[in-house]
Symmetry: C2
Subunit: 324 residues, 2 copies
DNA sequence: GGGATTTTTGCTCATGTGAGCGAATATCGG
DNA sequence: CCGATATTCGCTCACATGAGCAAAAATCCC
């Protein structure tokens, strides 16, 4: 990697001295010229070269700070409609970064125009976070529909349902829950469930939502599907060995966006992956160092049109593009 | 600690959005005004408040970068004639930071006016580093005089002498070495040594140097005096238990700048601490996290008029001043 | 060494930006 | 509810700064 600008050694040193006086001491280029015995134009050029060589680092340190240049590069290289990248400047923990990402997703939802009448959502820690960051009255009435099953087997039933209810409540809208486990053990049970008028109606609503909001899980033992008891660690290991990188709306996909285990997929309740591919507005919220692989799979295979993520994940995505 | 400027929550968020467009996307305040539906004056004010609240962090990332505001605060709060503080932005190791400090000391020496005809120096890793960073021809002839004994007992004799010789050589000047151990075991031997015409002459020269350049060592087992075999770890432990924080020109002092062990001090060859206190130009080069205590002792007790150090050490010094 | 080419320099000019100041607006206390 | 006070706003003006350009200097190459 070469220097942006060729510079003599003494000029480089001078540019640093000038930068110190300019940025730290708020001196004018004129004044700096007097101090360093240079014309003010020379000082201007030195400062420009210091910037060009990357010696001047400007960071916006704030929980709501985004990285617009990275967002732009992501949009350009992936064809995403929109990309929201939160800055990791000054974060001390992964949790904090995920909170920032959730906040950004909430901000994005709030500023979304036109406001979707029906919003399909998945569930999980990330979306729950988003729901908490939304402000009361963020939208004037939205019907929130669950797009995949989530009634937990041994946890309190709250998690999944409360996310939908909270988002809807804060929008002065209504929530339509999908009263079903994420995965059935037997295909027949699942089919029977789907045949039920009420459930079928919810699924129909889910399939016709104007917008989707979902997260994704890394394929490992910490998955929400394991936590909730729908899958065992052994099952996950098996999926991983068959190429799974993570799950989207409860369905495990590989790096190419393909369903890893069609039989398992059949037993999973909710909209299909292809539904996301065809939808005009699908917002994925993915943050954390262990989610780079699944984020890549989601973005590369057109599963979302909008990605809300953190700086590190975004950079990882861009990195791959470069080395293609 | 309060906010610099009171700001409503929405204004704070706007100031971040404005900052992103201004600093990351190089938009003009006018253009930002159009995007955010604000007047350009409002944008200017938002940017100003973002700065005032510390959301904008500007760092100069370069091995030669200094921290002028810290230097100024150090000068003001300690009465130092000059303070050179190197930035720790982007350093990955303590060694790198010490190298930066040594470079800064070399830079300071090079730009020193008037050029001292005789320069008294101590020895050690730090000063050796400084000698290596000096450029050939940094000064037109300087007589470099060793101000404390340093002929090692069991290492190759090089270390101490080579520092002096290198500094002198690069200035097209001459080096006057003090051919003596740092510490004698018996007072009589030391006195006999000092009585020798040659040695007495060197000491006389040392006492009359126009400027002094020295470093300082933390009082612990890694001390150069232990390395060189002049003191044992047990002796250091004893000194520490009696309040020693470190050594300057081979002499151990406590936080108040007092000699900790007068008897040991008597057996130590070189100029006295008081000589430094009286000299008009004494340059101390001290860097590293374990040298905060000795740096404090040196500065607080007027042992140097110029301090060359790193950002962290400087901040530690300022911290204490605040809590006085 | 000297002419050609590139780089650097000093400058004009147009634009961007912060200080300062009334006018408008919001906030508060009675 | 209304007058008093504080805050914010829009604007003028002066200054700081980057773009662009011709002259000067340095470098290259025969």
């Amino acid at each position: 990697m070469d220097r942006a600008t060729d510079m003599s050694d003494t000029d480089e040193l001078l540019s640093i001295r000038a930068a110190e006086l300019y940025y730290e001491e708020n001196q004018t280029q004129d004044e700096i010229g007097v101090i360093l015995r240079l014309t003010r134009w020379k000082v201007g050029r030195l400062l420009a070269s210091a910037k060009a060589n990357g010696f001047i680092r400007i960071e916006i340190v704030h929980p709501r700070a985004r990285r617009l240049p990275i967002e732009r590069r992501l949009r350009e290289s992936t064809g995403l409609t929109d990309a929201i990248v939160v800055s990791s400047a000054g974060v001390s923990s992964e949790v904090e970064l995920q909170s920032r990402t959730a906040q950004a997703a909430a901000d994005f939802l709030t500023s979304l125009r036109p406001i979707p009448r029906t919003l399909g959502i998945s569930w999980g820690r990330t979306l729950h976070d988003v729901s908490l960051h939304l402000k009361q009255g963020w939208a004037p009435g939205v019907n929130v529909v669950q797009i995949n099953g989530g009634v937990s087997l041994h946890q309190r039933t709250g998690t999944a349902a409360s996310t939908a209810v909270t988002i809807a409540h804060k929008a002065d809208g209504s929530a339509t829950l999908l009263p079903s486990p994420a995965v059935f053990e037997r295909l027949e049970t699942k089919q029977a469930m789907e045949a039920d008028r009420a459930v079928a109606g919810v699924l129909d609503l889910a399939r016709n939502a104007q917008a989707y909001l979902f997260s994704a899980g890394q394929a490992d033992a910490n998955s929400a599907l394991v936590d909730s008891g729908f899958l065992t660690v052994e099952q996950i290991d098996d999926l991983v060995s068959r190429g799974a990188v993570g799950d989207v709306v409860g369905r495990y996909i590989d790096a190419n966006g393909r369903i890893v285990d069609p039989e398992l997929n059949e037993r999973t309740v909710g909209i299909q992956i292809d539904q996301l591919r065809r939808a005009p507005l699908t917002i994925a919220v993915i943050s954390g160092n262990d989610k780079h692989a699944i984020a890549r799979a989601v973005v590369r295979n057109g599963l979302c049109t909008v990605l809300v993520t953190d700086e590190d994940t975004a950079n990882a995505l861009l990195q791959e593009k470069d080395t293609l």
